[in-house]
Symmetry: C2
């Protein structure tokens, strides 16, 4: 559930509080714009997975810019109820962007809905190595710049949530190439926000995450530095390469695909093991983030020999996470803070009374 209390009470999401106080509000993400994190800022719902419903709630609530993936929940060909959400948003005055150039040519006078992929956007490392994807899909930094441009001139100010959502998905997949390059893409989006805040002098930037995931780390060893640096040669995610392998691929083809994607040669035994997961008998465990049951974990363990990266699991962890702030309001930050207290800190920093 999202914004539902232990006794079923529906709490008013923080982005609605900001809207009611006269501010503009928006979200951009690399996962579906209807996914748990942006939806958690925007709506109350008993099921975080009812993404078709969440798309309709966004329409009713009228946020000022919403961009990410999620055609599955907006497009009439892909929604179960065949509703054309794009038409619905247009009738409410939205500009709708379906690719990078459409996004770039939206104006900043009217609200914007941008949806660029069926589910999540592609991983940054896969996009970086594919010209078609680069043309079709905006980067997180580009979406962030557009969102700021759309809202920065509003007289009562604005709030913007920017999520590097696929960092989390990469950790679920123990996919180090996916993780590092999406973290870098997030970093570039942070720069866009900081550059704006530095000039504006009246904007608070908060940088954090909602949880740890899989606790990746570089493992000691004589070649740890060189091994870790070999990730610079990766051209594609494990998701990409494991989807390139087919049940009828040969061992030589498996090795070729991995060599192409990682710049690293897998030995015959490991290649055979990878292939054994495609025979319909051996499948890897995994729910939400591995619905095809591909050998993400087994392959990450093989990669460990050449990249020195280890993982504790394929799930969230309980570690303390970093929280950094820049700009007016950052003086409210204590050395340690509960995640739930951030709600009140954000209202206070924006001088919005919590009266709703």
């Amino acid at each position: 559930s999202l914004n539902v209390g232990p006794n079923g009470e529906m709490n008013l999401p923080i982005w609605q509080k900001f809207k009611k106080s006269g501010k503009m509000a928006g979200c951009v993400t690399t996962v579906p714009i209807t996914h748990a994190t942006p939806a958690g800022f925007c709506v109350s719902t008993k099921s975080r997975n009812s993404q078709e419903d969440i798309a309709e709630m966004y329409l009713d609530l009228g946020f000022d810019i919403m961009m990410g993936g999620g055609l599955n929940y907006f497009s009439p060909e892909l929604r179960k109820d065949k509703k054309d959400m794009f038409d619905a948003f247009k009738s409410k005055g939205y500009q709708v962007a379906r690719n990078r150039s459409e996004m770039m040519s939206t104006n900043n006078e009217k609200p914007i809905l941008g949806v660029f992929a069926e589910d999540a956007l592609p991983y940054s490392i896969d996009r970086n190595n594919d010209k078609t994807l680069q043309e079709k899909i905006p980067s997180l930094a580009e979406m962030t710049q557009k969102a700021i441009d759309r809202m920065k001139s509003h007289k009562n100010g604005f709030v913007l949530q920017v999520e590097g959502g696929k960092v989390d998905w990469a950790a679920h997949a123990n996919d180090i190439g996916g993780l590092i390059y999406d973290q870098v893409a997030f970093d570039e989006a942070v720069k866009v926000a900081l550059d704006f805040a530095e000039k504006d002098k009246n904007t608070l930037v908060i940088i954090t995450t909602d949880h740890g995931n899989a606790n990746p780390g570089v493992i000691y060893g004589k070649n740890a530095n060189t091994n870790f640096d070999s990730i610079q040669n990766y051209k594609h995610t494990n998701e990409w390469l494991l989807n390139e392998i087919k049940p009828n691929s040969t061992v030589a083809q498996v090795r070729e695909i991995i060599d192409f994607a990682n710049g690293t040669t897998l030995n015959d035994d490991d290649a055979k093991t990878v292939l054994s997961y495609y025979d319909g008998l051996h499948k890897e465990e995994g729910g939400l983030y591995n619905y095809k049951k591909l050998p993400f974990k087994a392959f990450a363990e093989m990669q460990q020999k050449s990249n020195s990266v280890g993982w504790i699991s394929m799930d969230h962890s309980a570690d303390y996470v970093e929280l950094a702030m820049f700009g007016p309001g950052s003086e409210l930050l204590k050395p340690f803070i509960k995640n739930t207290d951030l709600h009140y800190l954000m209202l206070q920093a924006a001088e919005v009374e919590n009266k709703f």
Copy 2:
């Protein structure tokens, strides 16, 4: 090597700089007092493993209090060269303590050497559940208090290094009971230091570690809280229980030992798997920290089902580590600092010119 530069140059260790500037200097640890960390503060040597030689260097250098494990490197029965290092320290004016009560009855007027176990001291969780060990071995907090009492009245001040060294060893063994209770024992030693500094008002306390290890973390799941709390029922380390199991133990006995040590029942299949490592054919990898090749890793993976704790490896990791300071000089601490810069920060905080 310790304090040896890339071109073989021998650097003066920081505890020697402090001694030369007229301060008292000491070390206490839960591992051998000749082990890498205390030795790194005290001596220059090409081999960190030449612990017999390191014991002799300590004698020459005349530190004011040195306590921990390491009979292997001091006792004539255990040293390869049969030298009686205890006699040598006594002739140099040292009080020698071989157990907790001898340590408690040392006076604070003369230097102290305390050596309480052949190699490292026992893990705290094993000590907590064994009356004999509690009587024989002091806790890290008790050693810390003794060291402060010995040195606190010195007119030019003192430096003390306190190491919870077995936290590292527990991580090498993926041994969560060992790790948590030794971390708590370290925390209690930190309290002793902070209590003193708070009253003294002229002492800087620095709390940090030299590296991450095995990146333990709690893994998400419906029962993660309850599972993690089950560690409160542990009476002994995995090291203790795996050493209780013998090649001729039955599956029922294996289950009984684990039930006693962890308060958790292992299933028959897992118990059989544990036992299979004792047949002389199946042995676990492992060097320095698993010389008996016991199934530390395999058993930690079984425990994961009941305690929700995961590990990335059995070796050090490259993570950033925490660094905290309390007292005068703590204003020198920047948000991020290189480990090698701490050398200069400590000298500066103590107003010792780096002229040696």
